[in-house]
C-alpha cells in the first residue's frame, strides 16, 4: 500500500491515474500513485472491458487553461481601466465652475495673476495637449498637483488610502460574514421566527440613509453617552503603533464601521438567502440526506458551496461599492480617508484631485471584479470550461 507501483508521471498508462492531467487538484490525496496501484489490482479483473468510457462520444470536452482565462479577464479589466482613465479626464472638464476663478474669488488677484495661475496649472493649453499630459502623468504615476492642498495628488492619495482601506476592509469583512451567516440560517429555516426577524431587521437598516444613521450613532454614543470619540481616526499625539494607539484607533473605528455594516449587510443576507433557497429543492441534497448526512452537514457541505456561487459575484461588486460609499461615512465621522478627500475635492473643484480619486476608486472596483472572476473560477468547476 505504501510503495507506489510506478512513477505517477511516467505516463506508462495514460488512461488512468488521477492527477497526471491536472496535478494539485486533489489536496486530500498526497500519494496518488499508491491509490492507483490498488485500483489497478482491482482492475485486473478480465471481465472488465477495456475502457468503455473512452468510447463515450457524449463525454463533454475537458476544461480550458487557467492562464488563458486569466489573460482574457485581465484584458477585459484593462479595457475598462482605459475607458475609466479617458472618462476621468473628460468628465471633470465638463463640470460647471472654473477652478481658477474660484481660487481668484477667495483672494484678490489681477487678470495677469489669473493668467499666470492658468498657465501654471496647464489650463491654458489646448484640451488635447492637456489630455496628453494627463495620460503621460498616469503612466508615470504622476496625477498632477492638487489646487487646494498644493501637494502631489499621488502623495495625497497614498496618505489617505490607508485609513479608507482600514475602515472599509473592516466593515466589509464584518458585513460579509454577518450577512452570509444570517442569510444561510434564514434560508435553511425559511419562514421561522429567526428568518422573519433577521430579514426584517436587515431591511430596516438597509432603508436607512447612511449619513442619518451615522449622525444618530454619533449623537448617542459620541455625544450623550460619551463612550466613543466623535471623529477622526486617532487622538492627536498618540503613536498609532503603540498598544494605546491601537486601542484608540479601534475606538475611533467602531461607530463608522457600525454605520457602514448596518446599511450594507442586508444585501449580503438577501443574496445568500435567495441563492440558498434556490438550491434547497435540488436533487443532490436528497442524495446527501439519503447518504445519512445530518441536516447541518447537508447545509454546510452541499447546499452552501453551491449557493455561494451567485453570491460571490455580487459580494465583490459590493465591496467595490462599499469603498466608494465610504464617502458619506468618512464625511460624517471626519475620517481622514479617500472619501473625505473626494468630498473636499468636489467643493473645490480641485480637478487633479478629483481625477485622481476617481481613477483610484474605479481601479479598486475593477480589481474587485477581476478578483470575483478569479475566485468564481476556483469555486465553480463549471466555469473552468468557459
Amino acid at each position: 500500500m505504501s510503495t507506489p507501483t510506478h512513477d505517477p508521471h511516467s505516463g506508462d498508462r495514460p488512461d488512468r491515474g488521477p492527477g497526471t492531467s491536472n496535478p494539485g487538484t486533489d489536496p486530500t490525496n498526497p500519494s496518488p500513485a499508491s491509490a492507483r496501484g490498488s485500483a489497478a489490482t482491482a482492475d485486473a479483473d478480465p471481465a472488465n472491458p477495456a475502457n468503455p468510457a473512452t468510447a463515450d462520444m457524449d463525454e463533454p470536452p475537458a476544461g480550458g487553461s487557467f492562464t488563458r482565462y486569466f489573460l482574457r479577464k485581465l484584458g477585459g479589466a484593462a479595457t475598462s481601466m482605459v475607458l475609466v482613465i479617458v472618462l476621468g479626464f473628460f468628465a471633470f472638464r465638463m463640470l460647471p465652475g472654473d477652478p481658477v476663478l474660484k481660487i481668484a474669488k477667495e483672494r484678490p488677484m489681477s487678470p495677469a495673476q489669473i493668467a499666470e495661475l492658468r498657465s501654471q496649472y496647464g489650463l491654458d493649453k489646448p484640451v488635447i495637449v492637456q489630455f496628453w499630459d494627463y495620460l503621460v502623468g498616469i503612466v508615470t504615476g504622476d496625477l498632477g498637483e492638487s489646487y487646494v492642498y498644493r501637494k502631489s495628488v499621488s502623495a495625497l492619495i497614498g496618505e489617505y488610502l490607508g485609513p479608507t482601506l482600514l475602515l472599509t476592509a473592516t466593515a466589509a469583512v464584518i458585513a460579509i460574514v454577518l450577512g452570509l451567516w444570517l442569510g444561510q440560517i434564514s434560508a435553511w429555516r425559511r419562514n421561522s421566527l429567526f428568518d422573519k426577524l433577521a430579514s426584517s431587521t436587515s431591511l430596516i437598516f438597509w432603508s436607512v440613509p447612511t449619513f442619518w444613521l451615522g449622525l444618530i450613532l454619533l449623537m448617542i454614543f459620541g455625544g450623550t453617552l460619551q463612550w466613543l470619540p466623535t471623529g477622526g481616526m486617532i487622538t492627536p499625539g498618540l503613536d498609532p503603533w503603540s498598544p494605546a494607539g491601537i486601542i484608540d484607533v479601534i475606538k475611533h473605528l467602531i461607530l463608522p464601521v457600525i454605520s457602514l455594516v448596518a446599511v450594507v449587510y442586508a444585501q449580503f443576507l438577501m443574496i445568500m438567502r435567495a441563492s440558498l433557497l434556490e438550491e434547497m429543492n435540488e436533487d443532490y441534497l436528497t442524495t446527501a440526506r439519503a447518504k445519512g448526512l445530518t441536516e447541518d452537514e447537508v447545509r454546510r457541505r452541499h447546499a452552501v458551496p453551491n449557493a455561494l456561487l451567485p453570491t460571490v459575484t455580487v459580494v465583490f461588486l459590493h465591496i467595490g461599492g462599499l469603498i466608494a460609499g465610504a464617502v458619506t461615512v468618512e464625511a460624517v465621522f471626519s475620517w481622514p480617508g479617500l472619501g473625505k478627500l473626494t468630498f473636499e475635492a468636489i467643493r473645490g473643484p480641485d480637478l487633479p484631485l478629483l481625477q485622481g480619486t476617481f481613477v483610484v476608486f474605479s481601479a479598486i472596483i475593477i480589481v474587485m471584479n477581476l478578483a470575483a472572476d478569479i475566485v468564481y473560477r476556483f469555486l465553480d468547476p463549471r466555469v473552468r470550461r468557459a
Binding site: 491536472n22 475502457n51 475537458a62 448526512l293 458551496p305 465553480d380 463549471r382
Partner: protein
C-alpha cells in the same frame, strides 16, 4: 440481509394552500424479500417516487404517513433520527437519476463517494486511505477509469454520471438498492449498459433491487416482479412476464402498449393512445415525391479544446412533402446539430448544400425570417420552451408578431390550438404553462409552430420528457398533422419505437454520419448496418427479463 415491506401505506402531503391535502399514495402494500427484484411502474403523479422515498424517511416533514414501512422488520417511523441516519445508505441506498442533478455540481465525484464511506465506515473503511482504495475499487466495478474520480459532474456524460451514482450506491455494501428512473434521459445503448451493469452487480451480491420507472420494458428487463401504480393506488401486481404479456387491467395494457414492440405490425403507423388525434381529410395526405427540404454533403465542424471536431460529416438527406423522417442516434451523434443546420441556425462548412423547395437556404436575415415561417422547430422540454409568465395566447401569437402577420390574429391562434387538439381552444387562451399538464404544454408549443402555417416541422425529441400515455397522444397528433395538412416533419430522437410508430423513413446516425437510411419497414425489420442492429438489440423488450435470468 434485510427485507423491505410496505404495509397499507398511505402518504398525504399536507398543504395549507387552496388545493388542500394531496393524497400521494393510498393503501399500498408491497413486499421486497431479501435478494428479490421488484419494479414499480407508473406515470408522473402516480406516487411511486413518494412511496420509495418513504422507505428511508426522506419525505418532507409536512407529510403524513399511515400504515407501516418495515425495514428488516423494524418500523422506520419508530427509529430516532440518529438511527435512521445509520440505516440510510448502509442498509438501503438509492440510485437517483444521475444524469440530472443528483450529484453536487461543485464537488469531485470521487469525494462524493468517499463521503458516503465516511458516514458508514462499518469498521472496514476506517482510514482515508482505505476509503480511497474502496472508491477506486467501486469505479472499477462500474467500468470507469480511476482518473474519473477527480472529475466534476459536468465533465461526465449522462451514462458516466449514472455509473458514478451506481458506484456510490454500492459503496457501503447495502442490502437493498432503490433505483429511481436510473436510465431515463439516456439513450438505448447506454441504457442497456447501465441496466445490465446494475443487474449483474445486484445479482452477484444478492442485493435486493427496488426500481421505479415509467417504462415497463425497462423494468421487466431487470425485475422479477412488477407493480403498476396509478393515482397513488396499486393497480396490478405480479410476476413481470404476466404483468407485461397478459395484463389484466386496462391501464396496464395502455402502459405496456405505450412503447411499441418494433416489428409488431399493429403499432406500425399507429401509436397506441386512448385519445387519438382525428384525421378529418377524406383523402389523407401520403408521402409524395416532392422534395421540400434537402441537404447534400452537409458537414458541420466546431472548434473545441480538442481541436476542430466534425459533428456532422457529409450527410445527404431529403425530406419530401407529407413525409415523416426520423433521425435516430445516440446522444453526441450529431443529430441535433443536423437539425440546427437545416433550420439555418448553424454555420455549415463550405461545400454543404442546403435547399428548401428547390432553392438554396437564404443567408440574409430578412429572407431567413421568411424561411423560418415555413420551417418551424419544436424542442424537447415543453416546460422549458414556454415562458412561464406568458399565457397560452401570448405564447402562440408570438410567432405571428415576429413574422409581422397582423390580420386575423385571433382566428389564427384559435385555429392553431385546435389543430394541436387543444379544444375548446377558448378555454386555454388565458392559462399559463404551470396550469397545464406536460402533454398540454407540448401541444401549446406545437400550436405556436402551427400558427405560422409551416410546411415543415423539425422536432427535437418531442416526446422524451412526456409520460407514456401522453406520448401516444402527441405522436398521433404528428401523424394527423401530416395526414390532414400534408405537413412534413423531421423528428430527432433516440427512440426507435417512435420511428416505428409514426415515421415513413428513418436515418440512423452515428458519429456525424448517416449509416443507414431508408423506409422504416425495411430498415427496422431488416437492418443492414451493424450499428442499426446494435441499436435495435439494445431496445428493451417487454417481459423478457433479458438482463437478469438469461443464463
Amino acid at each position: 440481509m434485510t427485507d423491505l415491506q410496505f404495509e397499507n401505506v398511505s402518504i398525504t402531503y399536507r398543504s395549507s394552500s387552496d388545493r388542500g391535502d394531496v393524497v400521494a399514495v393510498q393503501d399500498v402494500s408491497l413486499d421486497l424479500p431479501a435478494g428479490a427484484t421488484l419494479g414499480i411502474a407508473g406515470e408522473s403523479g402516480s406516487g411511486k417516487s413518494t412511496l420509495i422515498m418513504s422507505a428511508l424517511r426522506l419525505l418532507p416533514k409536512s407529510v403524513r404517513l399511515e400504515g407501516r414501512v418495515l425495514l428488516g422488520g423494524q418500523d422506520i417511523r419508530e427509529l430516532s433520527f440518529g438511527q435512521i441516519r445509520a440505516v440510510r445508505w448502509a442498509q438501503a441506498s438509492i440510485v437517483f437519476q444521475g444524469a440530472l442533478h443528483s450529484l453536487n455540481p461543485v464537488r469531485e465525484v470521487g469525494s462524493q463517494i468517499i463521503e458516503a464511506l465516511e458516514h458508514h465506515s462499518k469498521g472496514t473503511w476506517t482510514t482515508p486511505q482505505k476509503r480511497r482504495d474502496r472508491m477506486f475499487e467501486l469505479l472499477a466495478e462500474v467500468n470507469l477509469e480511476a482518473s474519473k474520480s477527480s472529475a466534476y459532474p459536468h465533465e461526465l456524460s449522462g451514462g458516466q454520471k449514472q455509473r458514478i451514482m451506481i458506484a456510490m450506491a454500492l459503496a457501503c455494501e447495502p442490502d437493498i438498492i432503490i433505483a429511481d428512473e436510473p436510465t431515463t434521459a439516456l439513450d438505448v445503448i447506454v441504457q442497456k449498459q447501465i441496466l445490465s451493469g446494475l443487474a449483474r452487480l445486484v445479482a452477484e451480491r444478492g442485493i435486493s433491487l427496488l426500481m421505479i420507472s415509467h417504462d415497463l420494458a425497462v423494468l421487466s428487463a431487470v425485475c422479477a416482479n412488477l407493480a403498476i401504480m396509478r393515482h397513488g393506488r396499486l393497480v396490478e401486481y405480479g410476476p413481470s412476464d404476466e404483468v407485461c404479456l397478459s395484463p389484466q387491467e386496462d391501464y396496464t395494457k395502455q402502459l405496456a402498449g405505450a412503447f411499441p414492440q418494433i416489428g409488431d405490425p399493429e403499432s406500425r403507423l399507429n401509436p397506441r393512445t386512448l385519445k387519438p388525434a382525428e384525421v378529418v381529410r377524406a383523402e389523407p395526405f401520403n408521402m409524395t415525391d416532392e422534395v421540400v427540404l434537402e441537404a447534400k454533403d452537409l458537414s458541420v465542424s466546431f472548434d473545441t479544446r480538442r481541436g476542430r471536431e466534425r459533428a456532422v460529416r457529409g450527410v445527404d438527406l431529403q425530406l419530401r412533402k407529407a413525409e415523416i423522417l426520423a433521425v435516430v442516434g445516440q446522444s453526441g451523434s450529431g443529430k441535433t446539430t443536423l437539425a440546427r443546420s437545416l433550420l439555418g441556425l448553424q454555420e455549415v462548412e463550405a461545400g454543404s448544400q442546403l435547399s428548401f423547395a428547390g432553392k438554396a437556404l437564404p443567408k440574409k436575415a430578412k429572407e431567413l425570417r421568411a424561411f423560418r415561417r415555413k420551417v418551424q422547430m419544436i424542442l424537447q422540454d415543453p416546460a422549458g420552451s414556454l415562458n412561464p409568465k406568458r399565457s397560452v395566447y401570448e405564447a402562440v401569437v408570438e410567432g405571428l408578431k415576429v413574422q409581422g402577420i397582423r390580420d386575423r390574429e385571433y382566428e389564427r391562434v384559435i385555429g392553431a390550438l385546435e389543430a394541436a387538439e387543444l379544444t375548446p381552444a377558448e378555454d386555454y387562451l388565458e392559462s399559463t404553462p404551470q396550469e397545464l399538464s406536460g402533454g398540454q404544454r407540448q401541444r401549446v408549443v406545437i400550436a405556436g409552430a402551427l400558427a405560422l402555417d409551416p410546411k415543415v416541422l423539425i422536432a427535437d425529441e418531442p416526446v422524451a420528457s412526456l409520460d407514456a400515455s401522453v406520448r401516444g397522444e402527441i405522436l398521433s397528433l404528428f401523424l394527423a398533422l401530416k395526414k390532414n395538412l400534408g405537413m412534413s416533419a423531421l423528428i430527432i430522437t433516440h427512440d426507435l419505437g417512435l420511428a416505428w410508430n409514426i415515421a415513413d423513413t428513418v436515418a440512423v446516425m452515428k458519429r456525424g454520419e448517416i449509416v443507414e437510411y431508408g423506409e422504416v419497414d425495411r430498415v427496422l425489420s431488416d437492418p443492414q448496418h451493424e450499428y442499426t442492429q446494435e441499436l435495435l438489440a439494445a431496445v428493451p423488450r417487454l417481459g423478457s427479463q433479458s438482463l437478469v435470468r438469461n443464463e
